[in-house]
Structure formats: structure tokens, C-alpha cells
Amino acid sequence: MGSATLQGRSERATIAALRAGRASLGDLWRYGRPAGMTALILLLCFLSLYPMVMLLYGSLHSTPPGIPGTFNLDGYLGIATTENVVVLANTIGLSFVKTILALALAVLLAWIVARTDTPGRGVLEVLITLPFFIPPILTATAWAMLGNAQVGTINLAWRWLSGSDTTLVDVYSYGGVVWHMMQYSTPFIFLFVVDAFRAMDPALEESSRMSGATRWQTFWRVTFALMLPVTTSAFILSFIRGVESFESAVFFGTPVGIEVITTTIYHSITQRAQPDYQSATALSFAALALMFLLLVMQNRLLRGRSFTTVTGKGYSPNITRLGRLRWVTFGVCILFFVLTVALPIGQLLLSSFFKFFGFYQADMLTFDHYRSVWENSSFWRAFRNTMLLGVAGATATMALGGIVAYVTTRTRWRGRRLIDILAWLPWMMPGMVLGIGFLWGFAILPHQIPIYGTLWALLLAYVALGTPVAVRVTSAAYQQIATDIEECSRVHGAGWWQTLGRILIALAWPAFAVGWVLIFFGIMRELSASILLYAPGTEVLSVVMLKMWVGGKPEEVSVVGLVMLVLVLLFRWVQLKVIKKRISTL
């Protein structure tokens, strides 16, 4: 009896201890969640709201921070001109046309790669995404040589073949600006949608076909409809990027009088004796308001609809057998690759072995550009810094984006909308303006906080700039995962973190991988904020490339661009190998 009493006491004590343990975990959950949310909001406020507040001050003040002046609305009143209406129409028109065209092309390419039996799809997937990773300055240079009206290679070939003296293409035109922007938008949207296509349960399409729908009806009503969160996210991200695009307009638009918002801002900041920050920031906020409307529209479009395609049931990705048509789809992919990669990169590769870009004479053959880059200590320092910032930045951004996306798409926690908006803000401000916001914001921090003039300044700016992409990529993936899988995990005793890691991240990780690569190479290319935040010793590749370019060494820039391309190929190869292995185990 004595021992039984002891045993009973022991059991009660154990249960009490377990209850106490649960109570403390419950307390942790109860109090930890608001604390976590507060921390998340504070972090996002620092990364995105803080520089924006600095810019808002700049738009409402007659002088930039640190100089005595007065508050007024001159910046906003000054943008209401006929000239700016034309600029706005140009900006929206160009971005809209290029986004529609790029979206259509990207969806087609993604479907071909993910859901058809087109030959060589693995290789095609890598090739299609390559243009996104080439610095725009290089493709612009290559296209300026290929498509100028006077002596462009394409026009010379056309005249030689046709015997006419007409011009086939002229990149210095609206069409040229759209085409150059599309080269970045198409692979960007492709990267967004291809894994969503791949992760879709084919049972939905099979049901449609079994119910008598044609292949096209099934694609349009089922496949494409279910892709709406991903495609609208990609559309909006791409449209906004188009509004903020600078390189295409400045290279191919400005010479023929086509001005857009970013070139106008650039003029205000860098082309006047007295930089007009008030006008530049006011114009940026006007553009931001416009883009915010788009986001509201997207929310309305998607509200109350279910886009679940990944459920608890096992499935394997469905492949549409195209028969002979598969060679047509193969041809489409190859044509895209030839036009956007082979032509410009071929030009760059060729040029990198000649003394001068575009002068292919035997006596000008040289390895000097490779040698020069190899022996350039600034390049190697920048390479190390960029790799460090790229890996740390992409990882931190995806971690932050994954958490933000979870909170905004999988919970009903208070404050989630605020988090969503905060994470979006940096995407809606042109990079060159946001860079100034970071500069102002970081410089006035107390000197004890070692951010300004260090790698931290660049890292924080990169995380802020990349977070919108990370959130969109992961939230689109989360939205496709049924909540019952998550609930099932919790019912079986898994904790919140376990469920997040083993269910959500495990299922959405191809999207994580894509997001990581997008952000990593976004960091490699970022210049607007980098040029304002770097300090001696913390140079990054984009800054070194700018120095080479302005210093009259475009051949060396193309060597660096080719190094970046090799890195891309390596990354994408590893990524796709891992994804393939992972998909086969699903």
C-alpha cells in the first residue's frame, strides 16, 4: 500500500509537472506571440518605414535633412505639370505593355517547362532564366550594337539578305525600351510561376478533362485560374518594377525623347546644379500612391477565393504529352534563349576577347581584359564582400520573408495587415530614391550603433529591398498548401515551429530556393543604394562595375558579367538538381 501511495503521488506529481510545463509553454505562446509580433513590426519599421519617413520629410521640406528650411507642399504642387502627365503616361504605358507581354510569355514558358514533355526541359529551365541575371548595362550595350538603326548587326544582316536599305529594328524607340525591359521581366515572372505549376495537384486538371473540357479550356479555367495568386503577385511585382525601371529607359528612351518617372527623378537629383530632393521624393510618393492602388486591387481580386493545390494527398506532377507539338514548344524556348541570351551574351563573350567592344579584328585579339580583372584587387575585395552580403542577405531576407508571409497568409493575428504593408513598402519606391532614404536614415543614427559606413548598412538595405520578393514568393507558395496538413501536424502533437519547419517550409521550399536565388542575384546587381552606402573597404561588385564602366572599360565589365553568369549557371544547376531529387521524394 505504501508503495502504491508513493506511486500515486509520483504520478500526480508527474502530471502536475507536465501541466505546469504546458502552462509555461502556453504562457510563452500567449505572451511570446505578441512579443514576437511587436519585434517583427519594429524590425520592419526600421527596415522600410524609417527610410520612407526620411524621404517623406524630404518631400515636405524645402531642404534635405540637416539643412534649415521650411515645410511646404511645393514638391507635390510642382509635379502637377503637363510634362509630368506625359512622363506618367509613358511610364505606365511602357510598364503595362511589357508586363502583359512578359507575363504571357513567362506563363507559356513555365507551362512548357513544368507540365509538358518538351525535350531538354531541365536545360531549358536554366537557359530561360539566364537573362534575369545579366547586368542590364551589359545587355543594353549588346543590344545597342545589335539593334541600332544605322550599323546594328541585325539591320546590316537584314540589308545584306534583303538587298533593301530599310531598317528592320531600332532599339532606340518605345519598342526597344519594352523589349529590353521584357528580357528581365520574363525570366523574373517565369521563376515565380514555374514551381507553382510544378507543385499543382494534377487531379484538378484531370477532373476538368474527364468532365469534357478541352485542353485549352482546362488550361485557362483550371490551371491558370489556380495560378492567380502567383500570377497576379508576379504581375504586380513586375509592373511596379517596370514603373521603377531605369536602365532601359535611360539607354533606349532618353536619346529619342522618351522620359519616364525614374529618368525624371534622376534628372532632379543628379543633373541639376542644386539637386532637387523635394521634387524627386514627391514624385516618388506620387508613384507609390499609384502602386498602392494596384495592391488594393490585387487584394480585392483574390479575396475570399481558395487557391489550394497542394493537399495531403500524394501526387506526382502531371505531364501533358504534346506529341509532335513538343518540338514546337522546344522551338519557342530555344527562340527565347537565342534572342535574349545567345545574341547579347555571344556579343559580350566575343567582345571580351577583343581590345574593343564590337571591333573584331585579328590584331585586336587579347586576354588583357581577363588579366586586368584577375589582377584587380578592388574586384576581389568587392567579390568577397558581395558573396558575403549575398549569402547572408538572401538567407536573412528569406527567413524574414518566410515569417512575414506565414503571419499574413496563415494566421489571423492582429497586426498582420500592417506587417504586409510594411514589407511591401520598399518595393514601391524607386531604388535610387530609397537609397537616399537609407543614407539619410543610417547617417543620423547615434554613432554608437555601428551601421553607417559598414557592411551592416548594405546588408540592412539589401534585406529591406529583398523582403517584398521573399514575401511574395513564399506567400504564393503558402497559399497553395491546404491548411488541413498543418492542422493534422498540430493535432499529432507537433509544435508551431515544428509545423512551420516540417510542413510549410518543407512543402514550400522550392519556392524558398527560387526566392533565395532571386534575392542573391538582386543583391549582386543592386547599385542605387550601394553607391550611396558603401565606404572604402566595403565596395561591392555593382560599384566596381560602375567604376569600370564610367572609366571607359566596358570590356572588363563584360568579363565581370560573364563571371556572374557562370555563378548563376552553377547556382541554378545545384538548385534544380536538389529540387528534382526532392520532388521525386514527395
Partner: protein, 334 residues
């Protein structure tokens, strides 16, 4: 006797300060070496000649140089923001004379004290107690040799108004800060508004991608480019291009050196400024196509450059009327 004494005093008087100056300067150099470091903010991006002078400075004095390169307006904004936040990180500022003038007006600099080599600066340039002329960018015309026969080459700036050049001129933008704006001001001052009205009728194509513009002309997209910065000639050697300084001369713009306010390494800054004005340093710039600001250098310059630099300096822009001229350019070149 008295006469001899007076002469002796005069001699001592004239030599004395020189001795004292030399002695003081040695102390400045010692102090600079003790500082051991120098931070330069420059708007001269990617210039190998600038780096060559910096390297020779490092080798000569053992002072490590850190270089921050950015575009003129970006350098200006960084300095302004840093100083208003109480961060004094840079020592020497190197930028175009317009931006330097604006920054001087805003109080971003401090007097540098004395720099011995400023005495070698030649007219029309001169140093103030804050600003030291550094080197001069000269602008001329550039033609594609394959497209323009020697007989057709413009001899005067006015020759580009000939209808045969209509639609065939690639140009830096006159409506934006830079070489184009300098060209606009100097032509306006020399030939009046009519020159620009006629040039606008020639429909020049504007591009701000300067390095690429020169190559576009070299590749034959356009036969004529202006204003061509002479210092880029070295980068283009081997291409079918030719720089031409018209009879009236060449517009120019000066780059200046200044000491940033509360510079952490003021002595190193002064020694660097002095080094920059050494004939050997100026010769590096002159051989690259920059006009030197000290005497006795042009004569030693490479022969092919010497002829171009020996031409008349036509004129330059002034910061006070920069905005008004940019506005005028906008009205004429729509």
C-alpha cells in the same frame, strides 16, 4: 656698411620665411606620416590616372589612401549628410569646380593652411585658402575617321551648323550637368543664342552614357560626337576616331581639391594636395589629356597630346548661372 646690413637683412628676410616654411613643411610631412591614413572623396570615377598619382603618394610617404568614388551629386550628398550627422570621415574632396563652389558655399570645407606647390599654379587658375585647382578637363570634337574625310573635318565650332551634319551628331545632353552643359555655356558666350538655335535645328541625338557614346561613333553609328573629353582619348587609341580642337579653342572645366571640414587627417590631406601639384603628378594627368594647372608641364607632355593641350582654352561655366543656362538649354533643345 649700412647698405650691406640692409641688404643682408633683406636677404635674410627673403630667405628666412623660406627656411621657416621648409622647416614647417617637414613637420607637416612628419605629422602626416604619423596620421598614417588619408580618406579621399572623389567624383572622378574609375580614373586610372588618379589612381596612379595616389599610388605614387602612398609609395613616397607611406600613407595609406582610402578612396570613395561616386558621381558628383552623390559625393556632395554624402558629405552633406555625414557632416550634418556629426560624422567627419573624409579628408580630401576632389570634384568639379561647380559642385566644389556649391559645397564651399554650404560650408563643407575648411581652409587647408598652406601648401607649398600652390605657388606653381599658372593663370588663369589660382588657389584660394580653401580651393586648390587640381586638373582641367578639355572638350573638343571627335569624328569617325572612316566616315569623315580630312577635307570634311570641322575646322571651326560653327562648321557643325552645316546642314551636312543634320541628324549625324551624337552629343552629351546640354540640359543636364556635365560636359554638355559646359559646351552649351561656352558656345552661348562665344557665338550667342543663334548658334544653339541653329544647332537645335541639326537635331543632335543626346545620350548621357558618355563612354558608350564615344564607342558608338567609333563603330560608325554617327560620324561626329561632342563634346569629347580629351582625357578619354587614351582609352580609345586604336579605334578609327580623331579628336579635333576647332580654331576658336576648347571649352574646359576645372576639377578642384579641398579639405573637408574637421578632416581627421589634415596633415596627410595637405601633403597629398602638395603631391598632386608636383610636376610629376601633373604630367601623369597631362599625358592622359587633362590640362595641367602648374607651369612647365605641357612642354614635357607626349607629342600627340601636346598639340591639343597647347590650343586656346575658350572658356568655362560659372556656378552662379548654371541653373539659368540649363533652363535656357531646355527651352532651345526640346
Amino acid at each position: 656698411m649700412l647698405r650691406r646690413s640692409v641688404l643682408g637683412l633683406l636677404a635674410a628676410g627673403s630667405v628666412g620665411p623660406a627656411w621657416a616654411q621648409g622647416d614647417d613643411w617637414a613637420k607637416v610631412v612628419d605629422a602626416a606620416k604619423k596620421e598614417g591614413k588619408l580618406v579621399i572623396y572623389t567624383a572622378s570615377i574609375g580614373s586610372v590616372f588618379h589612381k596612379a598619382v595616389i599610388k605614387s603618394f602612398e609609395q613616397k610617404y607611406g600613407i595609406a589612401v582610402e578612396l570613395l568614388e561616386a558621381r558628383a551629386s552623390e559625393v556632395r550628398e554624402r558629405v552633406r549628410v555625414e557632416q550634418s550627422a556629426g560624422r567627419f570621415l573624409g579628408d580630401v574632396h576632389h570634384n568639379g569646380s561647380t559642385t566644389t563652389w556649391l559645397m564651399n558655399r554650404d560650408g563643407n570645407f575648411q581652409p587647408y593652411g598652406s601648401v607649398p606647390n600652390t605657388k606653381n599654379i599658372i593663370a588663369p587658375f589660382s588657389a584660394s585658402n580653401v580651393v586648390i585647382p587640381a586638373e582641367v578637363i578639355s572638350y573638343c570634337l571627335m569624328v569617325n575617321r572612316n566616315l569623315v574625310k580630312p577635307a570634311d573635318e570641322p575646322k571651326s565650332w560653327k562648321d557643325i551648323l552645316d546642314p551636312k551634319w543634320s541628324g549625324k551628331i551624337l552629343s552629351d545632353d546640354y540640359r543636364a550637368l556635365g560636359g554638355g552643359a559646359v559646351f552649351f555655356v561656352v558656345m552661348y558666350d562665344t557665338f550667342g543664342k543663334e548658334f544653339h538655335e541653329q544647332l537645335a535645328a541639326q537635331k543632335p541625338v543626346f545620350s548621357r552614357d558618355l563612354a558608350n557614346s564615344e564607342r558608338r561613333v567609333a563603330r560608325g553609328e554617327f560620324p561626329l560626337y561632342l563634346p569629347f573629353s580629351l582625357q578619354n582619348y587614351n582609352n580609345l587609341k586604336g579605334l578609327p576616331i580623331k579628336p579635333i580642337v576647332p580654331a576658336e579653342g576648347r571649352p574646359y572645366v576645372r576639377f578642384d581639391l579641398t579639405m573637408l571640414k574637421n578632416a581627421p587627417h589634415p596633415n596627410a590631406a595637405r601633403v597629398f594636395m602638395n603631391h598632386y601639384l608636383e610636376p610629376e603628378s601633373q604630367l601623369v594627368f597631362a599625358n592622359a589629356g587633362y590640362a595641367p594647372v602648374v607651369g612647365g608641364v605641357v612642354e614635357k607632355t607626349l607629342e600627340e597630346i601636346r598639340g591639343l593641350l597647347a590650343t586656346k582654352a575658350m572658356g568655362t561655366t560659372t556656378p552662379e548661372r548654371q541653373d539659368a543656362m540649363l533652363e535656357l538649354a531646355k527651352q532651345i533643345y526640346k
